[in-house]
Amino acid sequence: MKVLAFDAVRCMGCHSCELACAAAHLDGLSLMEAVLAGKRAPARLWVHPGRPFAVVITCRHCLRAPCMEACAPQALKRDPQTGAVVVEESLCIGCRDCVLACPFGAIRMEAGKAVKCDLCGGDPACVRHCPTGALRFVSPEEEGLRKQRRTIKTFLAKAGRKP
């Protein structure tokens, strides 16, 4: 299962991911149609560009998700395809327990229902719209291997050997 990875050094604070996120959740309307119709659609991730680095807040889709554990009516479900924790709107009663339970502040309320990242069904819009590659959608396992390879290279180079 892939997760969102954020590289703070690459973030230039353009907020394209936030707009892309909002635009990906417009019930079939295009961005332009939604704006003209005066529709509200908050983003489900937030970039806080700061010095020395930016921070992105969004759902981690925790393997042991506190929000799911807190949700009495069991409105929060795990999508078997993507591993995303998603809200089943019809079951959500607006108790806000999930908002309180989330250690990252990644869940917000909108029109009485919990709203959070759903990984766009496996192809996150924020990643597609990030112009610098600061946001990536990666498998943690592969990412780990990649870092192992990088570490080995560094060590070998230090020892004056070609990898």
């Binding site: 394209s16 707009l19 332009m32 659609a41 719209h129």
Partner: protein, 636 residues
């Protein structure tokens, strides 16, 4: 990578794009793909960089900021940005117009002997129109006309442009005057619609849109209107009229259009850009004995000058020079491997071209002090040494013939015939000297009305698909189509400018075309020649003692790209013509400004914008507009 068929509607282009994709040449569509998805803030017009408290963006959907640092709202941001687009577009057209105006003065004073006055009749007609005595020495009349034009660029009084006063139809002029008075009476605030001087309206916009100035969307848009009018009835009109005086008024002639106009056996010189001043000279010297002989010695059959974009349109109309294509052909023509030189002046010249030219033997030659390109050979153009400069350019091309690599030659043998050159003068001649036959044809319902299609190509739209399909749809509905720019080249390439193409049109248009011996799609010139459409509209309005906003006409820029197109669209709307646009301009981030443009402008000016993605739907809407106006005129 998309399939070539999806990128262009033109078979010659499809052929050439396939070739580029196979050989790994980068084209504009690849760069567009690399830019996608494009920025939502920019698409909606919701970003501002007018000061360094910013850059600021406005969140259109969520809980993000609704104001810039200075407090500017989405409405202000969008209106300011649109206003600046108009200023840039008007500046481009008008600065183009300034050049022939200065040249006319120099020719009149004998300071430039490289050029002459080719069309004395037109000179005297323009003079008469401006209220200058058309009698007397040619040079005197020319000087007087040039002085009026130049004063329209830089005068400091607040009277309207003299060109506008002389050319705009009476009722329209009154409408603009009354609008200014009405707005003052209603609001107590000053709003200007009539342009005072061409340069001033651009400067006014740059001033007005800087931080802490005009924040009222309606006020900003009206200044946009004023600036656009200084383009249409000012800078562009001056460009057209004076170019006609210097180089000749276009009359119908047969030409060929598309990449197949390149000749394998000849030295091919592509002239690209917008102005005729240099290209006219290149066409002329390329026929000189000495240079032709030199080409033969190099093993070529001769020298083949072909045009591209609006420079292409200028020499196509006046000299019958074949045209290789419109905007999106500018890279494709290089990929044929057949171009010894591409010579450019100003506007719409992709900075990607010199790099692409380097993949071949092609010399990419820039000539304007205002448009220089890294990777180009620059041969500075001086008007007073025009022939010498043109000869140097042609010689370089001829010498380059030997470097052509036959392995890299690949081109489609596709070109269409077209009957082009319908200046207002030419149309009037075809109509027997007056607009009456056209007016009668409309009044009797032979044709429903007239549509003007203008504007560019845009890689976001399948090349020529909208331009050509919209034209066909309108013709089927018995609406005659006139136009300029990249549309005109698209229509020529598609065969819609052959008189036989009338067979595709509805019965009324067909009958009219057969009677007059004209094609159903009429090529009126380059993009500054949109002014010819204004002049034609004005002539019809004055003939009927009505306003342009009463006439059954509509306009469209269905594949537009440049800021110039925004100015053109705005001066048509401001002159009383509803205008269709695709793609949508970057204004949708402000529902208020969008409403102004699509609805409220109508009550102020008798014209409005509308956006439509489908050719058939756009044609239907244009037809509706035309039918509604017919009804108002009491025509069935």
């Amino acid at each position: 990578m998309k399939k070539p068929q999806e990128l262009s509607f033109d078979q010659a282009a499809v052929f050439q794009i396939s070739h580029a994709q196979r050989t790994g040449l980068e084209l504009i569509w690849d760069r567009l793909e690399a830019q996608e998805p494009q920025c939502g803030f920019g698409t909606l017009g919701l970003c501002c960089r007018h000061c360094v408290m910013g850059p600021c963006r406005i969140d259109p959907l969520g809980d993000g900021p609704k104001k810039g640092v200075c407090g500017a709202t989405a409405d202000t941001l969008v209106a300011r940005h649109l206003c600046r687009m108009i200023a840039a577009g008007a500046a481009a057209h008008s600065d183009h117009g300034r050049r022939p105006a200065i040249l006319l003065k120099e020719v009149a004073l004998g300071e430039n002997s490289a050029y002459t006055i080719k069309d004395e009749e037109k000179l005297r007609a323009v003079a008469a129109r401006l209220g200058i005595s058309p009698e007397g020495e040619v040079s005197q009349v020319a000087l007087a006309v040039a002085e009026v034009a130049l004063s329209d660029f830089g005068k400091q009084d607040t009277r309207p442009l003299r060109f506008l006063e002389a050319y705009a139809p009476k009722k329209r002029l009154e409408h603009w005057q009354k609008l200014e008075e009405k707005l003052l009476a209603q609001t107590g605030a000053l709003f200007g619609v009539l342009p005072r001087s061409i340069d001033r309206e651009v400067v006014d916009i740059m001033h007005r849109t800087t931080m802490g100035m005009d924040h009222d969307p309606a006020s900003l848009l009206l200044q946009g209107v004023r600036c656009a009018l200084s383009d249409g009835w000012g800078g562009s009109l001056i460009a057209t009229e004076i170019q006609d005086i210097l180089f000749g008024t276009p009359y119908p002639r047969k030409v060929r259009a598309n990449l197949g106009v390149l000749k394998e056996e000849a030295v091919n010189i592509v002239v690209h850009g917008h102005e005729p001043v240099l290209s006219e000279m290149i066409v002329q010297v390329a026929q000189e004995e000495e240079l032709v002989k030199m080409a033969r010695e190099m093993g070529a059959e001769g020298i083949n000058v072909v045009g591209l974009c609006c420079t292409g349109n200028e020499i196509l109309l006046r000299q019958g020079v074949p045209v290789a294509g419109n905007e999106l052909h500018s890279e494709l023509v290089l990929t044929t491997g057949l171009c010894e030189a591409m010579v450019v002046d100003v506007q719409c010249i992709y900075p990607a071209l010199p790099r692409l030219a380097q993949c071949f033997h092609t010399k990419f030659i820039s000539t304007s002090d205002q448009a220089k390109f890294p990777g180009a050979v620059h041969i500075q153009f001086f008007e007073e040494k025009a022939a010498e400069v043109a000869r140097a350019i042609v010689r370089l091309a001829v010498e380059n013939f030997k470097n052509r690599d036959p392995q890299k030659v690949h081109y489609p043998r596709i070109a269409e015939e077209a009957l082009v050159g319908f200046s207002v003068e030419a149309l009037l001649k075809a109509l027997g000297g007056s607009v009456k036959p056209l007016v009668d044809a409309i009044a009797q319902g032979v044709i429903k009305g007239v549509a003007g299609i203008v504007g560019c190509n845009n890689p976001k739209v399948r090349q020529d698909y909208f331009l050509v399909s919209l034209c066909r749809e309108l013709l089927k509905r018995d609406i005659l189509v006139v136009g300029t720019g990249c549309w005109a080249i698209a229509a020529a390439k598609a065969g819609l400018m052959k008189p036989e193409a009338a067979a595709e049109a509805g019965p009324g248009v067909k009958r009219l075309c057969e009677t007059l011996g004209i094609p159903p799609a009429l090529h009126m010139g380059s993009c500054v020649d949109c002014s010819r459409m204004l002049v034609l509209l004005g002539a019809v309005a004055d003939h009927l003692s009505c306003d342009i906003s009463d006439l059954p006409v509509a306009g469209s820029a269905p594949e537009w790209t440049t800021e110039k197109a925004v100015s053109i669209g705005t001066y048509f709307v401001a002159s009383g013509v509803p205008v269709h646009l695709w793609p949508a301009p970057p204004v949708l981030g402000s529902p208020a400004v969008t409403k102004l443009l699509t609805q409220e402008l109508d009550s102020l000016l008798g014209g409005f914008f509308f956006v439509e993605e489908e050719p058939a739907k756009a044609a239907r809407k244009m037809e509706e507009v035309i039918l509604a106006r017919r009804k108002k005129l009491g025509l069935g």
